[in-house]
């Protein structure tokens, strides 16, 4: 069986799903309109913020350590896999959503893009 190649950042960015783009430091550089609409954040509010601001408190440490590991080894166990996680909205509420993260190296720097598709209410995170 041949595993299909993950979609490109450009494809995700211009897709219909909520999308967030981060630079090699893990700082948000862009979000799309769908993301703004569902989670309430404006691009101005998030640009330059660490990705962990849209993650629940309990995930932040693991996220940072995992991000650091990718920077030291360029290997990750979570890229290109659908992950059921919670996303923090601008109003502080949490929405269970499917995160699909990919990484692309552009001009010697890694860029990270993720779609955060909200799941029906009542779906447990990573259940």
């Amino acid at each position: 069986m041949v595993t299909p190649a993950p979609p490109s950042l450009e494809a995700l960015r211009h897709g219909a799903s909520p999308f967030v783009l981060a630079d090699h430091n893990g700082l948000i550089v862009a979000i799309n309109a769908a993301f703004q609409q569902i989670y309430g954040w404006s691009e101005e509010q998030l640009r330059g913020q660490p990705l962990s601001v849209i993650l629940p408190e309990a995930f932040r440490m693991s996220h940072q350590l995992g991000f650091s590991r990718f920077q030291s080894s360029e290997t990750s166990t979570i890229l290109a896999h659908p992950l059921r996680l919670k996303t923090i909205c601008q109003d502080g509420s949490e929405i269970v959503s499917e995160h699909f993260i990919i990484a692309e190296k552009q001009h010697e720097h890694w860029l990270f893009g993720a779609t955060l598709t909200p799941l029906p209410q009542g779906t447990p995170a990573e259940a």
Binding site: N25, L27, G48, Q49, P56, E57, A58, F59, R60, M61, S62, Q64, L65, G66, F67, S68, R69, F70, Q71, S72, S73, I78, L83, R84, L85, A125, E126, A127
Partner: protein, 589 residues
């Protein structure tokens, strides 16, 4: 907020360091978990994922207590009270998770006091292996104790079996008294001698060819025959006599009071006749015979075992006798037995210590040289000699008989062949007609590959095979056997000559003689000794010489000791001769 440009490399470096630390912590075998002050999981390593058997994303943000397995009794591994104080007080606990297979873990926690609220680091260690080793030791000790107990029981059982066996006095097959029963009866009979005087006899009876019955018809038929023999013996026994079975085909009759040895012999003959009646089983006819050794004693202090030994020795003497199937033990039989024992022992030591020698007796042409009247030596016969370090020389004939009887003739014969081949290899400058004769036992010929081995050695040593003569006794070659014939035929086809030894003593038919794979005959000394004494035997020797010559065989007369014998043989046309007249066995000239 984007960091200042000059901080970027530091941030990257710190991130790399963090990444390496995270990788290292994930690689260790102990499960590590960092929780917040309430016990909610903030990070864990791969070992923890494996320990709880679920992916990390499911652990993050969940209470550690809900993730840890329950103990073997189904209770939480950490009590609520403990959990309430984990951010203040370090602690540790050992938890038995399951018994079979054993799974035990050690949980240790420690608050990270540099932060408020205080996170907690948990370290969970699987110590099942350590516990298992201890458990294993306990199990090993338990098994060892069980083994010792089992050994004790086995020993007790063996002792009980021994005690029971000592109580058994009867043979299970025939119902006759066994060896122990016999000893009791023997002691009783010796005791009666003390009171009444007189003599008693011990008759050691051994069925002839019983092994053949077992081999050909099976052990059940063998047992049936033993039962029949025991019945016949019991029916024929005189009053006061008893019969016991020692084992195998050996029966011992203990006579009652008898006058002398002749009465014991009479009883033995009567028993031999009684058991000799044909016995029919499943359409098969058996004609049982037995050899009997007898000893008698009037000495009430005689040792029972010694009496049995004497009767046994006499029985073997009878079994080896060509004319008599019973023997009464006496000094000459005992001397013969001891002599055989000595020969056996000396032969064994001589083979072991390489103390054997070969002596060579000439075989000559009986046609006297017209120039000087001397006899031409045509060859020599190699004869084994054993000179013990102490005592008298061993008689050569006894040596061979004992070697044949004990099977040592195989080693002995092998040594003779090696010596003979070495001699032929290192003494090639002999006249063309000269040959060396060696005696070969049928036991050697019956071994697979005898001829092939010998021919291979002859070829490897570059020996002329025509120089070697194999002598085999007439009796043996007639008793056997297709294998003997095959081996001899193979030797002859490759140039080795074969002579039939002791010719005239084996009752061979003349028609058979013509078909045997032989090159010559050696007329037995018995006939040579009769020359000038026995006209009938003279006729026979003349016939043998003419027959051999007519068949184109080499004819050698053995045992020529006098000139008159030589002249008589010359007159009869015997071409070759051997005997003391021409030279005793000795060193090769």
């Amino acid at each position: 907020m984007t960091p200042e440009v000059n901080e970027q490399p530091i941030i990257l470096e710190l991130r790399c360091i963090l990444g390496r630390l995270e990788t290292a912590l994930s690689a260790i075998s102990d499960a590590l978990v960092i929780t917040d002050h309430q016990g909610l999981v903030l990070w864990c390593n791969s070992s923890f994922d494996r320990f709880i058997d679920q992916p990390r994303m499911r652990s993050l943000g969940h209470p550690i207590l809900s993730l840890l397995p329950l103990d073997h009794q189904g209770d939480p591994v950490l009590a609520q009270a403990v959990l309430a104080s984990i951010s203040q007080i370090p602690g540790a606990t050992t938890v038995l998770l399951q018994r079979q297979p054993l799974k035990v873990c050690e949980i240790e926690w420690r608050p990270v006091e540099t932060e408020v609220p205080t996170p907690v680091i948990f370290c969970i260690r699987d110590i099942s292996t350590r516990i298992s080793n201890q458990e294993l030791q306990v199990t090993v000790e338990r098994i060892e104790q069980q083994r010792q107990h089992s050994d004790r029981l086995n020993l007790e059982l063996q002792q009980q079996q021994l005690l029971l066996a000592n109580l058994v006095r009867e043979c299970p097959v025939t119902g006759l008294p066994n060896r122990r029963g016999l000893r009791e009866r023997l002691d009783l009979a010796l005791g009666r001698l003390r009171d009444r005087g007189g003599q008693i006899g011990v008759l050691f009876c051994d069925l002839d060819h019983f092994k053949d019955v077992n081999d050909m018809h099976g052990h059940q038929v063998g047992d049936d025959l033993l039962i029949e023999i025991s019945r016949r013996l019991q029916e024929a026994l005189p009053a006061e006599a008893t019969v016991s079975r020692l084992g195998g085909d050996e029966f011992v009759v203990l006579t009652g009071w008898i006058r002398d040895g002749s009465e014991a012999i009479a009883i033995a003959r009567m028993l031999q006749q009684c058991i000799a009646a044909p016995w029919l089983l499943h359409g098969q006819r058996f004609d049982p015979t037995m050899s009997v050794g007898i000893t008698v004693t009037s000495d009430p202090s005689a040792d029972g075992d010694e009496l049995l030994r004497q009767a046994d020795v006499a029985m073997y003497h009878a079994k080896r006798s060509a004319t008599e199937s019973l023997a009464l033990h006496d000094a000459s039989i005992e001397a013969h037995f001891r002599s055989n024992c000595r020969v056996h022992q000396e032969l064994r030591l001589a083979i072991l210590n390489q103390k054997l020698t070969l002596a060579y007796q000439p075989i000559v042409s009986l046609k006297v040289s017209p120039q000087d009247g001397s006899a031409t030596i045509l060859g020599h016969e190699a004869l084994v000699r054993l000179q013990p370090e102490q005592g008298l020389p061993i008689d050569s004939e006894m040596l061979i008989i004992e070697a044949e009887r004990t099977g040592m003739v195989i080693e002995l014969g092998s040594w003779v062949i090696s010596e003979a081949l070495s001699l032929l290899q290192y003494h090639p400058r002999r006249p063309d007609h000269w040959s060396l004769a060696i005696n070969v036992s049928p036991l050697q010929l019956e071994r697979t590959g005898f001829a092939a081995d010998l021919l291979e050695r002859i070829e490897a040593m570059a020996i002329n095979p025509g120089r070697l003569v194999i002598e085999i006794t007439e009796t043996k070659i007639l008793q056997d056997s297709s294998r003997c014939i095959q081996e001899l035929t193979s030797l002859r086809h490759n140039g080795v000559r074969v002579h039939l030894d002791d010719f005239g003593t084996g009752y061979s038919s003349l028609s058979r003689l013509a078909r045997l794979p032989i090159d010559g005959i050696k007329i037995d000394r018995y006939f040579t000794a009769a020359l000038g004494c026995d006209s009938h035997l003279e006729c026979m020797i003349a016939s043998m010489i003419h027959l051999g010559c007519d068949l184109g065989l080499e004819v050698v007369a053995e045992g020529i000791e006098t000139d008159s014998q030589r002249l008589a043989l010359q007159a009869l046309g015997c071409p070759w001769g051997q005997g003391h007249l021409f030279g005793r066995p000795g060193a090769l000239p």
